[in-house]
C-alpha cells in the first residue's frame, strides 16, 4: 500500500522509501553473524525522546530520521487523512525556522528531505552532507517544539489544496486507484481505524481545522512519542551534545493513548464489483491476517513468495506460464502494527475470465493448504534474505528507518535481528499452518472492470456493485 509523502519521486531513493518503508524494517541478517549487522547505541533523554546512533563513514553524509508513533489509525471519524495532512504542515516552517529554509539546508546543499505517513507512524528524514548535521537537528527540534508558533489558517489551506491534488493524482485519476480504500472499508468494521486509507476522503480533508492541528500536535508530537535515528558519518560525542542542546528542553507530553484494535475475522466471503475507467479487468482477493505483533506474519511473507513472483511460484507458474491465462499475478502479506492482510491480484489475458481465474487460483491455494510447500520452495523463498539485508546496510537512510521501525514497533532498535532469525526459521509446516488458518472463506473478492462491462466481474451475479469506498458496505461485526 503506497504511503503518502510530502513529495512525489524527486529522487529514486525517496520514491522507494515512500512506498516501501511503512510496513517492515529491512528484513534480516544471518543469525549469529557478527560482521553483517547494524552497530548502534541507543539512549533516552529525560523528556522521553529515544535516540539511536549508528556510524557509517562510507560516504561523508548523514541520514536523520524522526519516527513519530502516530498515523491514520489515530484519526477521528470525520477527519480521515488528517495525520498525512499534518505531515505536510510540518514542512511549512516553525517558530525559528522560516518557510523555505529547511529545503535550502537540505536539497540546497546537495541533500534531500521528505516525510511519509502510514496507518501506524509518520516519519521525517533528512539526508545531508555530514557538515550540515547540526542544522538538520536544529530544524527537526524546532518543528517538534515550536510548530504552532507560526501556524495559521492560510498555511493549513495551502497544504489542504496540495494534499487534495495528491489524492487526485494517486487515487481519483489513477486506474485501479480506489482499490485500497474499497478493500479497507470492505474488510474492517467502522470502529476499526484500519477501515480507512491513509490519504483520507476529500470531504474530511475539507473539514480539517486549525484547532484540529493544534490538538493533534499537542497529543502526538511530544518527545515521549518520538524515535530519533541518526546514521552516517559523525562524531558520536559531538552528536550527543547537539541532541541534548536542541531537543533536551522540549517538554514531554501526556502518555499517548493508542486505539484499541480488535482482531477481524470475516464470517464468510464478501464479493464486490467496481466499474472503473480501466481498459483491463483485474481481480483482487484479500484475507484479513495478522499484524507485527503476531509471528505468523513471517510465514505469511514466505507464503507470498511461494505463491507468486518468480516463474516457479505456484500461481505464477500455473496462470502466467502453463495455462497462459493471466498477464500477471502477485501475492503478498502486508503487515501493519495491529493488523495485516494477505492479497492476491490477477490480471487476465484476453479470452480469460476473472471467474475462471479465481477458480484456478483457489484450486492451487487449496492444494498448497492440503500438501504444504516443499523443502525446496522454503529454501528458495528464504535464500534471498541475506542479500536483501546486506544491501540494506549500504543505505544510511535505510538503516535509520530500520532501526527506528524496530524501536518504535518493538521497543528495541535491534529487533531487526530477531526479525531475521524468525524469518529464516520459517518451516514448511509453518507455511501450511498459516495458509490453513488465514486463507479461509472469510475474505474479500473485488473485481475491477471497465465501465459498461459489469459482466466481466468474477461471478457477477453474486457480487455487489460499488462505485467507491463511500457505498461499499462495511462488514458485519462479529464479537
Amino acid at each position: 500500500m503506497p504511503t503518502p509523502c510530502r513529495k512525489f519521486a524527486w529522487i529514486a531513493l525517496v520514491a522507494l522509501s515512500c512506498v516501501a518503508a511503512a510496513q517492515r524494517p529491512p528484513s534480516v541478517a544471518p543469525p549469529g553473524s557478527d560482521t553483517i549487522r547494524i552497530p548502534f547505541e541507543s539512549y533516552t533523554l529525560p523528556n522521553g525522546l529515544t535516540v539511536i546512533l549508528s556510524t557509517d563513514r562510507t560516504t561523508p553524509t548523514v541520514a536523520v530520521n524522526l519516527w513519530y508513533h502516530v498515523g491514520s489509525k489515530n484519526e477521528l471519524p470525520g477527519r480521515t487523512g488528517f495525520a498525512h495532512l499534518f505531515e505536510h504542515i510540518m514542512f511549512t516552517g516553525s517558530g525559528h525556522v522560516p518557510y523555505g529554509l529547511h529545503d535550502r539546508l537540505t536539497e540546497g546543499i546537495g541533500g534531500s528531505n521528505n516525510g511519509t505517513t502510514s496507518n501506524d507512524r509518520t516519519t521525517y528524514f533528512e539526508i545531508v552532507p555530514s557538515n550540515y548535521l547540526e542544522s538538520a537537528l536544529w530544524i527537526e527540534a524546532d518543528r517538534m517544539g515550536f510548530l504552532l508558533d507560526t501556524l495559521d489558517l492560510a498555511k493549513l489551506n495551502a497544504q489542504r489544496d496540495i494534499v487534495k491534488n495528491e489524492r487526485r493524482q494517486g487515487v481519483d485519476n489513477q486506474p485501479y486507484g480506489k482499490v485500497t480504500e474499497i478493500l479497507a472499508r470492505a474488510t474492517y468494521p467502522a470502529d476499526n481505524p484500519y477501515s480507512w486509507d491513509v490519504i483520507g476522503s476529500m470531504e474530511d480533508l475539507s473539514a480539517a481545522s486549525a484547532d484540529d492541528v493544534k490538538t493533534f500536535f499537542r497529543t502526538y508530537y511530544a518527545t515521549n512519542n518520538v524515535f530519533l535515528a541518526i546514521v552516517g558519518d559523525f562524531d558520536s560525542a559531538q552528536v550527543k551534545a547537539w541532541v541534548t542542546k536542541y531537543f533536551g528542553d522540549i517538554p514531554r507530553g501526556k502518555p499517548v493513548v493508542r486505539p484499541t484494535v480488535s482482531t477481524v475475522t470475516l464470517p464468510g466471503e464478501r464479493r464486490f464489483s467496481y466499474e472503473d475507467r480501466v481498459q483491463v479487468s483485474r481481480l483482487y482477493i484479500q484475507w484479513p491476517t495478522v499484524g507485527e505483533k503476531s509471528d505468523d506474519h513471517y510465514a505469511l511473507d514466505t507464503l507470498g513468495s511461494i505463491l507468486a513472483g518468480p516463474r516457479t511460484a505456484r500461481l505464477t507458474k500455473a496462470l502466467v506460464y502453463d495455462q497462459q491465462a493471466a498477464a500477471s499475478v502477485s501475492a503478498f502479506q502486508g503487515t501493519n502494527e495491529d493488523v495485516g492482510e494477505f492479497m492476491v491480484t490477477i490480471t487476465p489475458r484476453p479470452g480469460h475470465t476473472l471467474t475462471g481465474l479465481e477458480a484456478v487460483a483457489d484450486g492451487i491455494i487449496e492444494r498448497l493448504k492440503a500438501e504444504g510447500p516443499t523443502a525446496e520452495e522454503i529454501q528458495k523463498a528464504t535464500a534471498g534474505q541475506e542479500l536483501t539485508f546486506v544491501r540494506g546496510l549500504e543505505s544510511n537512510l535505510g538503516k535509520a528507518m530500520g532501526l527506528s521501525d524496530s524501536a518504535g514497533l518493538h521497543g528495541d532498535p535491534g529487533h531487526y535481528k530477531i526479525d531475521l532469525q524468525k524469518s529464516m526459521a520459517v518451516t514448511a509446516a509453518d507455511v501450511k499452518r498459516v495458509a490453513n488458518t488465514y486463507l479461509t472463506k472469510g475474505r474479500i473478492v473485488l473485481s475491477v472492470v471497465p465501465a459498461g462491462k459489469p459482466d466481466e466481474a468474477s461471478k457477477p451475479a453474486e457480487s455487489t456493485k460499488v462505485t467507491g469506498a463511500e457505498d461499499t458496505p462495511r462488514p458485519e461485526v462479529k464479537r
Binding site: 529545503d103 546543499i109 555530514s130 493524482q169
Partner: protein, 482 residues
Amino acid sequence: MNALNRPLSVIVLVAALFSLPVAAQQALDRAKIPPPGKATELRVPTWTKTTLSSGAELIVSEKHDLPLVSFSLIVLGGSDQFEPANRRGLASLTASMMSEGTKTRDGEALSNALQLLGTSVNAGIGGDSGAMGFVSTTGKFAQTLDLLADMLVNSTFPAPALDRLRAQRLVALNAARAQPGAIARRVFPKVLFGTAHPFGQLTTEETLAAITRDDVVAFQKAYFQPGRAVVIVSGDVTPATAKATVEKALAGWPAGGGKPDFSYPALPAKAPTTIYLVDKPGAAQSTFAIGNPGPPRNTPDYYALEVMNTLLGGMFQSRLNANIREEKGLSYGVSSSFAFGKGPGAFRAGGDIISAKSDVALVEFMKELRGVGGSRPVTDEELATSKSSLVQSLPGVFGSVSSIGAAIGRLKTQGQPDDYYQQYGKSINAVTKADLVRVAKQYIDVDHLSIVIVGDRATIEAPLKATGIAPIVVLDIEGNRK
C-alpha cells in the same frame, strides 16, 4: 569504535552525561542557524582498467566493507541504433527472452538456480545503451556470473516463450491506455520528434505482432558483442580475481562488434507553439508535458543547462514547483528536466494539474519558461543554491556497490573522461548568470513549444483557448490527429 559493540556500557555512560548541568541549554538562541562544519571531502572511488580476451573492456573498483559484489555488462548503443522502426519493442523482448532458457537449462531451471543463489540477473536495453547485471554476496559471485554467461552465450529463444511475452506486453499496452501519465509519455515524444525519428517511434500492437523469433535471434547476436561492451565489477573483489573469474565465465563469448554509429536523423521542421490536447473524459487532473527537442549530453552547454534546470524545475524549491504547487496549490508537484543522451533528448516541463485550473497552470508554466530566459533575472541566491545542490550531492553518490558501478558506467555510456567526477565541481562553479539566460533562450524555445495536455476536454478546452497562448490541436491517445 569499541563502545558501539557494547551497548550496555554505553547506556551507563550516557546516563552519566545527562546528569551534568545543562547551563548551555539556557543560553540557546534558537533563531541562530547553526553554521556548517568543515566542508566535506569528495572521495571518488578508484578503479583499474584492462581488456578481456574477447575485446570487452573490464573495469574493477574495490570496496571491501561489506561482502557484496555488483556486476554489470554494459553495451554501448541501444534500441535506437539496433531496432528497425517497424519492430519497436524488439530490444525489450530480446532482453526478456534471455531468461527463457539455454542449451542446458530451461527457463525454470535458470529461475531455480538464481533463486537458490538468492539473487536475480537483470537485462534491459534502453535507447542508446543496454546492460545485463546483478548484485550478489561475495561467495555467490562466480556462480551467479556463470548463469549470466549462460544466458548471454547459450540462450535458445524458444518460440512459445516469445508468444507469451508478446501477449503480456499487449495487455500492458492496453492497460496503459487508461493511465494519463502513460498516455502523455507516449504522445509527447511522438509530437516532438515525429515518426521518422527513433525518439518518436512507439511500440504498438502492430510492431509487437510483427516480431518473429528470427528477429530476436538476429538482434541478440548483432547487439550483445564484446567489441562494444564494458564490464564493470565493483565491491568485494580484487582486480586479479575479478579478471580471472570474468575471463573464465565469458570464455565462450565470441569476439566481434564495434562502437555503434550514433548519428540521428534530422529533427522535424519547427512549428509555432501549439497545445496538443488528448481527451480523457472525466479526468480529475490534466497531465502536462511541455517541451522541445534538446541538446545531446556532449553539448558544451551541459553544465550551464544543469544549473539552469535546477533552478527552474530540478528541486522542490525550484521556480516551477514553488509557484505552481507551493504558492498556487494547483498540483502535487511539477518539475522539469533534459533527457540527456547521445541524441537530442527532450526538454520537458510538466506535472499533474487540477482540471479546473489547467488554464491558470499553463499561464504560470509559460511565465516561468519565459522568466528563466531573461524576464525574471536569476538572483545570487538562486545561482549559489543551484550550484551547491548539484556539487554537494556528488559525495553521497558512491555509497553502494551498485551506485559505484552505475557511476562508472555513466562515464562510459556518456563518453566522459575518467576524472569527470573530480572536475565536476569546477565545471559547475564556472557557470555564470549570463550563461543561464543564454542556454535557457537557446534550448527552451518558447515560440516553438509542444504543449501536450491529457485531460477532460469538456472542462479544459475553452479555458485553455481563452489564455490565447497557442492554438489547440486535438489528438487521440496514440497521438494522431483526430
